[in-house]
Subunit: 231 residues, 2 copies
């Protein structure tokens, strides 16, 4: 499925490399290696040495961190076109600071540190893109932080649902269906709450008709009502 031509097109559609001419992009392609990961397999784990950048071609990847006690904080759930593992790339001999796990059958391009550095030095415009992407990510994390500090669980769940709907929404008949199958456990990790209480929040929203919950799928029926924090 990922012939060279397709890979090139995919790269071009990435926020990171958008705008780079295919001619410029092509040499980079040789340095990428395509890797496949089965559902639930780990792409890397916290503590692993790592100096590769990962570009998600297809599938879903969860970036998370687990505590001794068994709790899991999920920093992000990424879809096609997004980049991860970039932190370890920036310094030599770095160590991964979180786990990356495939939530679905996933393939991603893997680029070694050196190749990336060389490419970026040759293409300052892309470097600028990197800065933009990172900045946006910081903004979102600040958002998540204050969200976690101030809002109760229903509020956080509501926000996260809207966020997911925006990022991964399929307009399906009545409402926006979140296309990724996300378990309530995962959702709990994303909003920093227990699975049970996330469930309760979802149940309440559902009974109010704001959302519709099916097994592994959630449909946001009334986004604007949900935005007003379902009680």
């Amino acid at each position: 499925m990922t012939l060279p031509g397709e890979a090139l097109a995919l790269l071009g559609r990435t926020p990171l490399f958008a705008g780079v001419s295919p001619a410029d992009l092509e040499p980079l392609l040789a340095d990428f290696r395509l890797r496949r990961y089965a559902t639930d397999s780990y792409i890397f784990r916290e503590g692993d040495p790592g100096d590769h950048l990962h570009l998600l071609a297809a599938g879903e990847v969860k970036i998370s961190r687990t505590t001794e006690a068994g709790g899991e904080a999920i920093f992000a759930v990424l879809g096609a076109g997004e980049v991860f593992g970039e932190l370890a790339v920036l310094q030599e001999n770095a160590v991964r600071s979180a786990d990356a796990q495939a939530l679905a059958d996933t393939e991603c391009f893997v680029l070694h540190r050196q190749a990336l550095v060389a490419f970026l030095q040759a293409h300052p415009a892309v470097m600028w893109r990197v800065i933009t992407v990172l900045s946006e990510r910081i903004r979102r994390k600040d958002e998540a932080f204050s969200d976690l500090a101030f809002n109760d669980i229903p509020g956080r769940v509501a926000r996260k649902l809207l966020e997911l709907a925006e990022a991964r929404g399929d307009l399906s008949g009545k409402g926006i269906q979140i296309s990724v199958p996300i378990s309530q456990r995962t959702l709990a990790g994303l909003v920093g709450a227990s699975r049970e209480n996330v469930n309760r929040a979802l149940s309440r929203f559902a009974s109010l008709g704001l959302i519709k919950v099916e097994r592994g799928h959630i449909t946001v029926v009334r986004p604007d009502e949900l935005r007003r924090r379902g009680v």
Copy 2:
């Protein structure tokens, strides 16, 4: 206090511009403007239009966000040499996403978007620095997020104290004194907790002899004990 020569030296000591030769740095100096802010005054507020980068020359700046309800989440307390307001710089016509307030008499260099962009394009090495700084910031925010999600207030306070001691520590006789005067209210905003409970945590730590609390000043006496989460 900030003659051109000193300003140049200060720039050179910044994580961002370290390693750039003074000769290369000098043209940039002309584009900076020095601004002073009195204690408690706002450098900018959420919603302000803003396309200037701020480089902190002296003083302390608090980056925070306030809710309608009066709560305040503090994203960072920055000291000399650190940079803020970079998010708004990256896109044209951007709007500030948080407040920046001087915690002490503060002066900072202010650089307009265009000048920065021009400089960065001329100096890819500095661009790389920017990426590094941003990445490190992301890592810290992930850290803060999982901290907030998992640890109770004493634990969070302990970590934050250690962090502050490391970043702003003065070795004073017995223990590391945090050189910035930080009110318990501020500390509360940083760890996402109420002032009262932060106080209780501090009191407990103090009674255990792990820290010493004076008006506006905290001294970490036994860092390693504190790291083990004071009960």
